[in-house]
Amino acid sequence: MQSNAKRSSALLGALALSWIGWATPLAAQDILTLQLQQGFGQNKVRYKDFKWIVMESEHLQIYHESEFAPLAERAVQYLEEGYGHISAVLRHELSSKPPIVIFKSHYEFEQTNIVQDFLPPGVAGFAEPLRYRMVIPFNGDLDDFRNVLVHELMHIFQYDVLYKGPIKRLSSNPLSSPPTWIMEGLAEYATQEMNTIDEMVLRDAVLTDALIPLKVMDAAWGTGNVFLGYKQSHSLMSYIAANYGPEKISRILRVWDSQNDTDKLLERLIDLDMDELDERWSAQLRKQYWPLLQTRDYVSELAHKIARRPEDQYQHYSNPRWSLSGDMLAVLSSDGVEEHVDIIRLDDGSLVERITTHMRAADYDMLTFGSGTVAWAPDGHTIAFVAKKGPRDAVLLWDLYDKRLKATLDFEELEVIESLDWAPDSRRLALVGSSNGQSDIYVIDVASRQLRQLTGTPQRDDYPSWSPDGTRIAFSAKQKGQFDIKVYDLETDRAQALISSPADDLWPLWLPEGNKLLFVSTRERINDLFVYHLEEQQEYRLTRTISGIMTPALSPDGKQLVLATYYRGRPELYRMDMPSWPEVKKRSSELAARVEDRSGPTATLPDSAALASTPPDSTALSPAGAVLDRAMALLDPQARSPHAVKLAEISQPLAAPGEAPPPAPEAPRAALPLAGDEPGQAPPAGEEADTTGAHNLPRHPYTPKLEFDGIALQMGYFGGFFSSIAQLSMSDLLGNHSLALSTDYVASQEIDNDFNFALSYTYYGKRPTYNMALFNWNQFFNDRQDRIFLYRGQWVRGIERSRQSGLLANISYPLDIYRRLDLSYTFVDEQSQLVWPVREAIEGFATHLFRAAYVHDSISYGLLGPTTGRRYFFSVGRTLALVEGDRSFSHLEGDYRHYLRLGRWSVLGLRASGVSSLGRDGLQYNLGGPAWFLPFYSGFNLNMGPLRGYRFTEFLGSRVLLLNTEVRVPFIRNITFGWPGTFAIPAVDGSFFMDIGTAWNEGDELDLWPLHNPHEPLVSGPSGEPQAQQLHGSVGFGLLVYFILPLNFEFAKQTDLRGNYSDYEFHFSFGKSF
């Protein structure tokens, strides 16, 4: 839970900063007011109560749920194989058994407490260096699962080689880690061959001259095309291995240990610096990819780009589905800030209707993005799409006639839903559903809401497509590491293999005549379109593109095609005319002849013979290219054991030039009846044989045991006070129990020593988050009565000690990702006394505060502040006076913020907030200055900001009203500097703002209009007598720079909005705008 984490860390943060406040004794870090501060933040909802089992293998510990033991056993098999390969290549054994936590789906993975951050769908797993924990979800594809497991295991090996064990990491300099491209490149290289999508991205960068320069790759990591960064890193490692020997790969980390400089590392390793390596490697890629242009087409030569207006350059459309007439497309859209289901025009891509406006703030967590997660029914007026609601996906049916959501189809059996396809009668939906970690084809009867499972294989089934007569469903089925196309007959309940080649055959679509299938195949390692004639049992190539084709969609009349390709670093949609049948045959012949013309008769194998082991288009390669080509051949899954890890293979000597080529691929398999396609049937024998005996491994239930996460020690001396601060945090392996202790021992010759501590415990194991803290907290201040004492012959000012001790108890219950209820009880006993040069009690009282808050937060965040959505909270609190002298007040607070997008990055932010502290001991809030995120000033906890143009704490009162308006516009995005040093500034915004607010006390008269004239004297602060309080306004502008953290430079003038302005007041502050 973000909010709770924030609260407990705020308390510890206050303690950690105690020496600052103590060194500059201005005011107390009042724990009570910390508790009154209500935080925003979205909720990490733990929908499931996990029951964990621990299984130990020779080198690993696997944490899994008991009902998913087979998945965990599969993970052990993959990991032990991976361990053996990586260990052999790196010549390293791990110093301890890494704990590996397996979740059966990404949605459950998102509930992990090992990290408190949100884990978006793009995170495939993570490994952390402190305790070597790996946390991996299963996404329904065993090959992906294996790749992610081995990728993260490689990271654990990296940490162990670099830091010599988990605990040493704490004392190592994190800045001495190798650059990210080396770490990720090694992990990518160790685990997975590049698939056709990976190659498509890399090839596009080469052909459009968009490779990220190696010099800036590390600094720019995360700010640009991250996926390309991974692929480049992978490719660089392949290049080093192919050209300088695979043993260089295994030496990188050890050489880094003594060098700590990338240029020196490379020079020692391969006798090249970064620039030289970059030049040679990119030259190699150009030689590899440029010749493809001789025999391949750009998609723009075959089809028309759909969204081609300048304003569409940041808009990404995917998963197109045709309307009834073909005038419009339903698409998933994303501009990097918001994601929606849109209806766009076919002719120019302009937006016709946005279906999902306001959905985020409503009942759904997020849209599910993925292939086929939107589908336009043949009835023309129903659009189905998928959104996550609570712990699982639901299919939402939007009625275009009524312009409303007409049904939500939610099935307990299905956690993840993808690849929707409507039956011709518009009454049934085929889809891919993941249940218990297995992805299969299902059919929903929309009216009766009945779910029917069609397939039941452990490997992934995908892309269902109804035949025009509604009796069959074609789909892609993964078997032995590749997708084939099968057809399920709904009348006989049998599936039959139809198209099977050594490449992946994907996205089958029926042509209207019902005897032909259009599909995408990865033959020659580039996704292209093919047509398969069911009666002739013959396939025909339709395209030979340079950029590849994804997610094709056929118009209802079968005459047009919309497809996605990847060009200039982004996916784009194109519209293509579907050729007539004679034209299909003719084009197929022409494309075959084109390759024959360029490459001679050896390259004229029919497409059906699957050229998977043939380099793309068999174009001539330079000698260096031939070396790389052999290395690339190792990436070919056909040339490898399905479970082999590349590092093991490259540890063998590469074949010498002229050596026999890899064995020819197997011939396409004939159409055979399938085993294992019935629901619940066992996988085909021998497909994934367990060689590790994982099912016999010892297991035991998980028992929480607290271990250290981190320890920090600080010491300081100031003005006769010696302070030693220790902080430690502990948690159990799954992160359900978190304990934090902070102590501060303050010693002085003249004042009694103090021992401050705060002990906080948080339990994250259930849906509500429980937090409790005990504390004893002393701070020193100058005597508030400003008394002067004669001490050892000198006049000195007295020093006062404020001691706060008590306990905090908080419960936070998330209603969903956006909304939660917070409840808290706070007990604070406060004692103040003059401690130097004389001892004298000043005052003492206790506070029992009960508080409740309702929080809604549905905003999206950019680097410099919120970009869209709204957030608000209402908070009420009341103290309980148990004995005379206990503090008595009531607390009311509300804060509403709304953010409207004025462009892709431009935002209009509106905020209205107010607080009132009522009763005998009402608190005093202050107003003025910027909004700070660190408690650098006295009274920080009670500061309501920003009211720019005024001094910090310029206004004081038990009631505060504040209105803010701010427009933020983008100036710079993603700029990388080469001097001094290489660093990136991802965002610089300009802002224009207007703030209006005031603070007043009970009995004061509030004069709302006109605003206070800045040329007239201010009336502020508690005077004891009722006063007339005006509103105070300001306008100004600022520069917001994101450099490590947001830095705000703001200039503001006070104004009454009637032409009277003060001079500019400058403010500098940290943190995101309101």
Partner: protein, 181 residues
């Protein structure tokens, strides 16, 4: 603001003028040519480009099968929305689907006639107007649409006659072409 945007969009969509001409009629005529129930009494010039205000449907018990069938009003409104956005083919298919389900709905046939007329399918448009008029003989708008189209049919088709799109942009209240005969 929204209606302003829609009007501008409509002006940019030349084909929409055809629809505007069809519904441009004296203000005292009760029924619009675009037969959506809520359209009655609106400004006939801008009516087709304004979103129709949805009225609550009359409550009556329906079978499951009936519930899955969209109402005539919704189809007409959606077709109008398509026309406002310049997607006449989409409007046509939806109206045809609905008319095939409910062949007694005069408004569907009338609106289908308008769409056919815009798409240059004058024979189909005439048949659709006739069907609408036959189903609702007292409906002045249907009669007017049919009469106007028949008048145009009777006009001599010489080589200077503009194509259907261009015809749509002429003011039918003041026909540019001689009626002939």
């Amino acid at each position: 603001m929204r209606s302003c945007r829609l009007v501008i969009a409509a002006l940019l969509t030349g084909g929409l003028w055809g629809c505007l001409e069809v519904v441009r009629r004296p203000a005292d005529r009760a029924a619009p040519a675009w037969s959506a129930p809520q359209a009655a009494g609106r400004d006939t010039l801008t009516a087709p480009v304004l979103p129709l205000k949805r009225q609550p449907a009359a409550k009556k018990s329906k079978t499951e099968g009936e519930r899955s069938q969209p109402g005539i009003r919704q189809v007409n409104e959606y077709a109008l929305w398509c026309v406002e956005n310049g997607m006449w083919k989409e409007a046509r298919l939806h109206l045809e689907q609905a008319a095939s389900r409910d062949s007694q709905a005069a408004s569907l046939h009338n609106n289908l006639g308008i769409v056919y007329e815009h798409l240059g399918l004058e024979e189909e448009a005439t048949a659709a107007y006739r069907r609408a008029q036959a189903l609702r003989p007292g409906q002045e708008a249907y009669r007017s649409n049919l009469q106007r189209l028949e008048n145009r049919h009777r006009a001599p088709r010489d080589s200077l006659a503009p194509p259907p799109e261009a015809q749509d942009s002429t003011d039918q209240a003041h026909p540019a072409l001689p009626t002939g005969e």
